[in-house]
Amino acid sequence: MPHECTNCGRTFPDGSKEMLSGCPDCGGNKFQFAPAARAATDSSESAATQASDSTGNSGGNAAGTADDAGTVERAAETVRDWVSSGTNRSADASATDADDSTVGGDDSTAVSSDPASAAAAAGSTPADGTQRDRSADDRAERSWPASDEPSDGAEATPAGEFEEWPETARRPEDRSPSETDSPSTSETDASSASASPSASTMDASSPASSATSAAEPADSTSESIMADSENDAQADARSEVVSTNDLPDSPPQHDRGPDAAATPDEKTPPSDGRVVSEPSGEQPSIEELREELNEQFESIKIVSPGQYELNLMELYNREEYIISLQEDGRYVIDVPDSWRDGEE
């Protein structure tokens, strides 16, 4: 039996809800998770068969819970990937996007300077950041299947454009939210500044593609499809997982596609909220963290005279030997003999 009342020894199967309201036999509210081996030996009182079963189960359960968590996460990720078809990379995307957005400021400025030649803008985008390139590659891979269907009819050339696309698409995604973010904190402002240029790159690239061929419509269709699929699925996925990246994805699309127009509204506002909250939350959290750390590293905290809280691990790790405690929070610490001899 995985769980056992520490008072009367009654055992409960894993996941039992009986224990939630206390042990039905003795009313005890302390339970322990009995390891399989011990359960088998100890719970001889309870049916031996049960114990044997439980040994298998408990072992399995322990592993199972971990597995479950893992599989759930993985499943969620795959679903997200599916749904977003490259644009949404929930956790990855958020991390990469954050990098992109911050880095994007510099890159984008460089890009913006380039745009003199619209074609160059498209070329410059891949050159921008290695980080982007990687992320772009990922997205390109994912976006490929989605883009393939429409693009097949359009041209073979779009491949190059598509590669560019995902990169640009991401940047604008990252930036477009940042654009909307402008009301947010200074950090976001910086990103927003970078965002606008990124948007320009998007625009620049799109004209470039249009100039080359009828790639535009193909792109727009693929995008719109992407956007649609993202809209439905993203709504769910985002509701579960808060990823700022997801939201940004849509905005670039609405620039071009009329289809996307509906989506950006939905997506942008949540993205804004999240983006704003993230940076603003960081600064206070750092201070809080510091306080927490200070508290943690203080071996003896004097709440008030006569009231103390002790950090045993800190006391244990402390080399000095505290021999007396002052009410102002100071300790008198035993000085090693060698020092004392030296002073004397």
Binding site: T6, I300, P305, L310, N311, L312, L315, Y316, I323, D341
Partner: protein
């Protein structure tokens, strides 16, 4: 000079371990406040040397400085072991003078509280530096699964110190040795009542065998 004495100390500590049969091992009696550590230390000391170690009290934190009784020789079944017993202040994460105000004046309670806190620091220091083995004393009538117990046992395990768990106060009605056995199944648990002298034979057998 100081460096030299320090060096000498560390060398003698090493040789202590090498020739542990000749040098008495230092056994720390640890546990939460009011588990009966001093009562146990006194029981052992009286049984084998005739002296007491320290004052006992029902008020927690009576022991606020570590006290040592050296050269306690315990013989059991032909086995003999000489140990130094270190009775340590009860270890806790919170000390509040209001616990004692029923029993004494506020000033005294505050002082007791401060000394108790110093005592915990001292106990932790001893655990780090100066003990070769641990007798961990628990009140059988209390829930053994506490932060302090788990942390201390964890520290003791991390240091690879030999440890015996003494389930004390089995004379109390609501004592449950099983609860302690279940809480720390990886260690030997010996039930006893230091106050009443119950099961002391098994206690000494285990000490002789485990720390010998």
């Amino acid at each position: 000079m100081g460096l030299f004495t320090e060096l000498k100390d560390s060398i003698s500590r090493v040789t202590d371990r090498l020739f542990s049969e000749e040098e008495p091992k230092r056994i720390g009696i640890y546990g939460p406040p009011n588990a009966g550590k001093t009562t146990l230390a006194n029981r052992i000391a009286r049984d084998w040397t005739g002296d007491a170690v320290g004052a006992e009290s029902h008020i927690p934190h009576e022991t606020r400085r570590a006290r040592r009784k050296e050269g306690v020789e315990i013989e059991r079944n032909g086995k003999s072991v000489e140990i130094d017993i270190v009775d340590t202040p009860g270890v806790t994460t919170k000390v509040d003078y209001e616990e004692f105000t029923d029993e004494m004046e506020e000033d005294d309670a505050i002082r007791r509280s401060r000394e108790a806190t110093e005592g915990v620091a001292e106990a932790m220091h001893w655990l780090r530096e100066d003990v070769d083995g641990v007798i961990y004393v628990l009140d059988s009538a209390e829930d053994p699964i506490t932060q302090v117990n788990t942390m201390l046992i964890g520290i003791i395990e991390s240091r690879d110190l030999p440890v015996l768990i003494f389930a004390n106060k089995i004379d109390l009605d609501d004592a449950s040795v099983k609860r302690i056995e279940d809480a720390f199944p990886q260690h030997e648990t010996i039930p006893l009542s230091a106050k009443e002298g119950e099961n002391m034979d098994e206690v000494y057998e285990n000490i002789a065998e485990y720390f010998g």
